[in-house]
Symmetry: C2
Subunit: 203 residues, 2 copies
């Protein structure tokens, strides 16, 4: 075993690449056919990897999903960056809503999240990942809301944490509806912003 650092021999780099190949293939499969409708063979074939070799890189099918769920964390970074800036709260809120809506406008993001959350109901380790990912967003959002209240920009909501979660839920709920009903997310984002801002702005 080499040093724990990310630098590695040619061999280690190659295996890291294989892992990513498999993960990406798995994402494609899960998107197209869903987690349970996807066989391990489908993933291996799509990744250009033998069936047995997949088990050299992952302990099993479940493990693949877990790693994908962990990868989603990375997607949240741009939104955290927006939320952690120090513009006035209402401005940040609007910017966040726009950015997150743009992210959710891609059906693959919505479907993958639904696929993962659907598994989370019965698999505690995935549920925990999901809640943790969500917490990163809400924690940042709650700071914005609190600051907005302190500055007199936002209404003094009874519970800033729950209000923040509701903001995110409205966005994701709309995104899910946009997928199911075939309505482009761009047509929904206006009403979402109106709904949220009307609820949170001082009156």
């Amino acid at each position: 075993m080499s040093e724990d650092g990310k630098a590695g021999s040619a061999r280690e780099k190659a295996t890291a690449k294989r892992r990513n190949q498999i993960l990406e293939a798995a994402v494609m499969c899960f998107l197209e056919n869903g987690y349970h409708q996807t066989g391990v063979r489908d993933i291996a074939a799509r990744a250009g990897v033998s069936l047995g070799n997949l088990y050299n890189h992952f302990r099993g099918k479940h493990d693949v999903l877990v790693e994908i769920a962990m990868f989603e964390r990375r997607d949240m970074e741009p939104f955290l960056k927006i939320l952690n800036s120090n513009s006035p709260a209402p401005k940040i809120l609007k910017k966040f809503i726009g950015a997150y809506a743009r992210y959710l406008a891609a059906p693959e993001n919505v479907i993958l999240a639904l696929e993962i959350s659907s598994e989370a109901v019965r698999q505690p380790d995935i549920a925990q990942l999901f809640v943790e990912n969500r917490a990163m967003l809400t924690d940042a959002l709650v700071s914005v809301v609190k600051r907005g209240i302190a500055d007199g920009d936002l209404r003094a909501v009874p519970d800033p944490l729950q209000a923040s979660q509701l903001v995110i839920e409205v966005l994701e709920g709309s995104a899910y509806r946009s997928v199911l009903a075939g309505i482009p997310m761009s047509k929904l984002v206006g009403s979402v912003e109106d709904f949220v801002m009307s609820s949170l702005l001082v009156r």
Copy 2:
């Protein structure tokens, strides 16, 4: 085939009963293990019916899910009744939020809906059922909102239909979070009502 009416011979009644047995067993299985993790044998065994006989009552596994999704329509009736009363809009809204939240406080209702909606992503007939069920609720809600605006009780939201859908999405999103994070829905409903009413009431 007898008359299309609901009255039937003793025999017809018995088979109708069997159908319900199977459907109820299927619901239990889907709740416990999810749709794809549930085998036809599981359903048959739980219903106390032979494997082959299940296929005398349903064309297949998919058909069972479709019928369950159709049954959900019935659950919406109490809420439609609330929404169709003619009290002042804000009063109706609060009553609806309370009632729907109580319904969603039962995890089985949330999980079953998630299970169905998760299938809906890739199965158009289920998606249509889902959208139709949802439409019944939003259509009734949109009347309330419009009336509330006309009466000067509610803010003149830019799009009453989308505002209505957002109200429902906030409720269902919270319910889903309550299941995943293990927070009782009763702890969330206060913030939900505050969030929604603050957004919709005249200012």
